[in-house]
Symmetry: D2
Subunit: 129 residues, 4 copies
Amino acid sequence: MAERPGPEPLDLAILQATLRQFAADRQWQPFHTPKNLSTALMVEAAELAEIFQWMTPEQSARAHADLATRERIAHEIADVLLYLVQVADHTGVDIAQAVRDKLVLNARKYPAASPLGTGPVSGAALVDE
Amino acid sequence: MAERPGPEPLDLAILQATLRQFAADRQWQPFHTPKNLSTALMVEAAELAEIFQWMTPEQSARAHADLATRERIAHEIADVLLYLVQVADHTGVDIAQAVRDKLVLNARKYPAASPLGTGPVSGAALVDE
Amino acid sequence: MAERPGPEPLDLAILQATLRQFAADRQWQPFHTPKNLSTALMVEAAELAEIFQWMTPEQSARAHADLATRERIAHEIADVLLYLVQVADHTGVDIAQAVRDKLVLNARKYPAASPLGTGPVSGAALVDE
Amino acid sequence: MAERPGPEPLDLAILQATLRQFAADRQWQPFHTPKNLSTALMVEAAELAEIFQWMTPEQSARAHADLATRERIAHEIADVLLYLVQVADHTGVDIAQAVRDKLVLNARKYPAASPLGTGPVSGAALVDE
């Protein structure tokens, strides 16, 4: 599992502001519609899936042991996230709230199999206190 | 543009731990390989793009004015992010670091058009100090 | 619109047999499961969409006037079709029948807007007599 | 493997003409740009991949033994093909020629592993004589 990314968690709001400025500096705003950005997101998601497409599931679980592969995975993950936060920015979606809402829905939709499995999924668990 | 999501930014590491427990409680771990998760991510990305597929770019920029559409967008964005952080978790990728690395690469790859556009893109700008 | 491809329409059954032999000659059969092939198909579809992702819809309608772009489009279309017929081959799906069935469903689902628009969509119209 | 689809192979040119008329009857032409159609194609490809996303490769190879699953696969395959031939129609791409060109490229790119494996892949093998 990934270790905690150090003392500096990613702040999605700051990331959105940075990307907004990055696009403005390049006069990319006319291209950055939700339609275009969501297509670009899907393309990047496909590039991530492409890495694993001919692997068995087991091979895919070990693939990141190879450093070049891990770097490629990391780049595609970053690309997906960069487009995702831009789609959210341009559609007025609060990602943190959307995630919290979705987790509540998922917990209802998929009750834990175990009778003990009341689970830790609550919106509150997902945010820094 | 999205407003700042309040005082509680999303902590991706906590989100990953929550999803890991959620999967464990449902005995989903065997299914949660990078291969499967990246395919699921792509499927969710397609569901997001589907919302805008017949719209003009201009219509897509206004689509979230409709509350039901905005909610649908929010759900798909959340779904994409939930799978993305799980792929990162299972491949040992530090998302924050991957994003910082990618921004540096992008700034080199796409120099700002304006001579004044040195831009604010630095890895440091993206993390909470 | 595309002109009629000459006197030699593509025979999908022959194409499937050719690809089956092509895979066998390379010992690719273990990789050619419906799971893998459908992921590969999605990746190729994304590469096709990527060509148009920053264009306006109007620009996309004219993009093939550029020969290099048209060739790129043609290659991606071929890639999608090659994987599609392989998925069908490995899942026992008769593509021609599936298309006929779907057209009937679509004609019911989307009645023609015009009262005169009973339309030419019948399964019979789609096959060589 | 799929059996030969009977005496009536699918004629892609007739299919394209049928879909062109279908779109015209519904006044869908303004929406049917290569940009939109290729996005719709990717969405349908994702729906096909979704069927197999949590299966092992082995399970995916047997999934069509279930009739409901096979029907679902068939519908998604048809949807992909319907959009694919429309993209080709609107970009002036001759699908049969594109496939023949691509097979020649693939045969060069991936020489058969076996020294005897000169293989049957020639453009001529793919068309009805």
